[in-house]
């Protein structure tokens, strides 16, 4: 328990804990000091100077996000001088920012806009030269617009401190400072893993996902196609937030209904293919356990993690599961099994996926995932994009009546649902692997030590006496820490789940932006989204992938058996080392 000290905020006395910053103390007491570059999960920059306050005895203003409290300190937070100074600082930022709010992706959900409103900017006093850079449109997943960048540095910090990819950095100096990959190279040539966390933390539209909504709207009007869509578990757990619902309210049935209204002919569930992934992956794991492959086996459904692995850890390619991600498996089935079923030419099927993830856009473009020369997934849109399409497409999401998925690719088990949360893939895989190996169902079906937001989680499963050690990491930074352990001690684990985003897919780069009273990557929001998926799992009668009757039918009618020839052809893939080769330094932190 830290020592208690007395401070004064705006002439009111308070007892607070020593050892924290002014901002932390003020936040707990109901004061809201405006801020821009500060984020509780990232290192402190003190750069935006919006959070300045006056401390008695100090000639200049201090940044409340960095200045520690001390006994007897007298702080003023909202004097006329401070309000003017803050207003001027925000105006200065706006004066070097495009004036296109109404045509901007983040109109209405932009932190800078909210701040400007709170500052009461009505006139511009200091306009002058505006920066003018070209947008970086090269990447499949993330679009970078340096003109909208306010140099808060959150993206740099999350890319280096949390994801440890170190793709983004500050370059040049002063007025010409810009956030950019090395050598000013376009994103598509950089070590970017397309995880999209930069989009999540960006306060403006300097980072946005590559937008496919226009293309999709057009295709939805085209009757030459059979329009099929799938969406991920994490989408249903979070899409409500874009419509004002509290985080953690699942909108599964409403989303199905909305998608039909938008014009899709068939709405399938990615969770079905999550079950399929489990069938294949659990079987693959058991083969390796018998000695027919490298251990530890590492999961491969996270596309950001895959790109990261190919660039940073190519020596571990042999450990990666050859299973495709649920999305790509679904895409493969749509262009073969399903096309057959509805007696349509595969090229007339429009395979769309709604994902919580920006890296999936990159995944969909991978040439090795093509099926008979066609992309398995034609278009990927994020949760945000779908939310906008629903609003723009005339669907009343709040009042719409929910509907069910289509058959035969719409039924899923609880295991498929929890795929979105960190630890979920592992938990679902164990539920199936256990029964495949021992013949008995796993009684403690909820494996709690694999749930939650701890960076690296471990578990021990007893398979008929054989001890199977598993580990789970979420966020590429934690993945790095885990993999360093694996490199030094390869026998330590048998099975590892890695998800590229903090919290798992529920924290993906395509999820709705933080609401008015929240911050990006808020832990409470992530926990609630995860809980939504755990609740879906609980409410399902079928909770194990191998008990999904539609999965069984799929194998009976089409695939044969897990790891069979057909499975290998359609549901498995291979990876190879990519350049540029990334470097993860052990001790370097950003400044």
């Amino acid at each position: 328990m830290a020592k208690k000290i007395k401070i004064y905020i705006d002439n009111r006395p308070y007892e607070v804990e020593d050892g924290q910053t002014i901002m932390q103390a003020a936040d707990k007491l109901g004061y809201h000091i405006p801020r821009l570059c500060y984020h509780p999960k990232l290192s402190i920059e003190g750069a935006c100077r919006v959070c300045i306050v006056q401390v008695e005895g100090m000639k200049n203003y201090v940044a409340s996000c960095a200045y520690p409290v001390a006994d007897g300190m007298k702080i003023l937070t909202h004097t006329k001088e401070l309000r003017t100074a803050r207003r001027d600082i925000v105006e200065l930022i706006l004066d070097n920012h495009p004036e296109d709010c109404h045509t901007c992706e983040r109109d209405g959900i932009c932190e800078l806009q909210r701040l400007a409103y709170a500052m009461g900017l009505r006139h511009r006093h200091f306009e002058g030269e505006r920066k003018c850079y070209a947008k970086d449109l090269s990447s499949e997943s993330v679009i970078r617009d340096p003109n909208k960048c306010i140099l808060c540095g959150r993206c740099v910090r999350i890319c280096s401190e949390i994801q440890k990819v170190n793709n983004l950095g500050y370059a040049y100096r002063g007025f010409k400072t810009v956030v950019i990959p090395a050598y000013d190279m376009p994103f598509s040539e950089s070590v970017c893993t397309a995880c999209g966390q930069c989009i999540n933390v960006c306060p403006t539209a300097a980072f946005v996902e590559k937008n496919h909504t226009q293309e999709l709207f057009e295709k939805l009007q085209d009757n030459n196609f059979v329009k099929v869509v799938q969406f991920a578990p994490s989408v249903r757990a979070a899409i409500g937030e874009a419509f004002g619902f509290e985080p953690g309210v699942s909108k599964e049935k409403e989303t199905v209904a909305a998608l039909r209204r938008l014009g899709f002919d068939y709405v399938f569930d990615t969770q079905f293919c999550a079950d399929l992934t489990i069938m294949e992956e659990a079987s693959e794991f058991l083969e390796r356990l018998k000695g027919k492959g490298k251990l530890p086996m590492i999961t491969s459904c996270s596309s950001a993690w895959m790109k990261c692995m190919e660039q940073f850890y190519p020596d571990l390619i042999g450990n990666i599961s050859t299973c495709k991600s649920p999305m790509s498996m679904m895409g493969a089935l749509l262009k073969t099994y399903f096309a057959d079923k509805i007696k349509t030419e595969p090229k007339k099927i429009l395979s769309v996926a709604v994902m919580c993830c920006t890296a999936k856009k990159y995944e969909a473009s991978r040439p090795e995932l093509r099926i008979n020369g066609m992309p398995a997934v034609d278009i990927v849109v994020t949760t945000r994009e779908l939310a906008w399409m629903i609003k723009s497409g005339g669907v009343d999401f709040i009042n719409i009546k929910g509907e069910d998925f289509d058959k035969p690719l719409g039924l899923s088990s609880g295991g498929g649902a929890i795929f979105g949360a960190t630890g979920g893939v592992m938990e679902a895989a164990i539920r199936t692997a256990y029964e495949l190996y021992t013949g008995e169902p796993l009684m403690e079906i909820e494996i709690n030590e694999l749930r939650g937001l701890k960076g690296i989680k471990e578990g021990l499963i007893s398979l008929d006496g054989a001890q199977v050690r598993v580990a789970v990491a979420h966020g590429l930074g934690n993945a790095n820490a885990l993999l360093e352990i694996v490199r030094k001690d390869p026998g330590r684990y048998h099975f590892i789940e890695i998800m590229g985003c903090p919290g798992g897919c529920i924290g993906g780069g395509g999820q709705p932006y933080a609401g008015l009273n929240s911050i990006p990557l808020d832990e409470e929001t992530l926990k609630k989204r995860a809980q939504a998926l755990y609740d879906i799992d609980r409410h399902k009668t079928i909770r194990r992938a191998h008990n999904n009757p539609d999965i069984r039918r799929l194998y009976r009618e089409f695939l044969g058996k897990p790891l069979g020839e057909k499975s290998h052809e359609l549901l498995h893939t291979h990876y190879k080392a990519k350049f540029p080769r990334g470097i993860i330094p052990q001790e370097l932190t950003t400044r």
Binding site: R173, P181, G582
Partner: protein, 168 residues
């Protein structure tokens, strides 16, 4: 061209020798600026292949190296001309007429600060205070200081370099 490849190789190996001496020390990444100075010494500017080598050897992400390379004005990101002219625009020189000297240079070289003549003979940079304020205005060519400049003197000095270069 075999000759130039060999030259590149020898520069790279000297760079590697320099780095291996530092790599064993604690906090070796903190020597990045000294290493970049070495790269510039060997190549005349910060060559990309060399920076990649630094990234791989010293285990520093390229984005970080690029951030450092672009931050410090001493580092050149583009290959410079044969002769590098640095004109001092510090206070003392400015007050003594460096502005006029700069105009003359721009006129003669037909390029601005940061640029190079079309024949690659001269590149023009700005220097902040070379510390020779008593001789203001001052310019430095390839490290040699020329002081008490007038526009006429500038022309003469440049002519001298041009003559020597065409004579080579």
């Amino acid at each position: 061209m075999p000759g130039s490849v060999k030259a590149q190789d020898s520069k790279l190996s000297e760079l590697n020798r320099f780095m291996s001496a530092l790599k064993g020390l604690s906090r070796s990444e903190s020597n990045l600026i000294a290493i970049l100075h070495k790269v510039q010494e060997l190549y005349g500017y910060l060559d990309r292949e060399a920076m990649d080598e630094v990234a791989a050897t010293m285990n520093i992400p390229t984005a970080h190296i690029w951030g450092v390379a672009t931050f410090y004005h001493y580092f050149k990101l583009k290959k410079p001309g044969k002769h590098v002219i640095a004109i001092c625009l510090g206070t003392a020189c400015y007050i003594k007429g460096a502005g006029e000297i700069l105009e003359k240079l721009k006129e003669e070289l037909k390029t601005d600060i940061g640029g190079m003549t079309s024949d690659g003979l001269f590149s023009l940079e700005e220097a902040r205070c070379l510390g020779a304020c008593g001789l203001a205005p001052v310019m430095m060519i390839d490290g040699k200081i020329y002081g008490s400049l007038t526009p006429k003197k500038v022309s003469e000095i440049l002519q001298g370099y041009r003559k020597r270069s065409s004579g080579e």
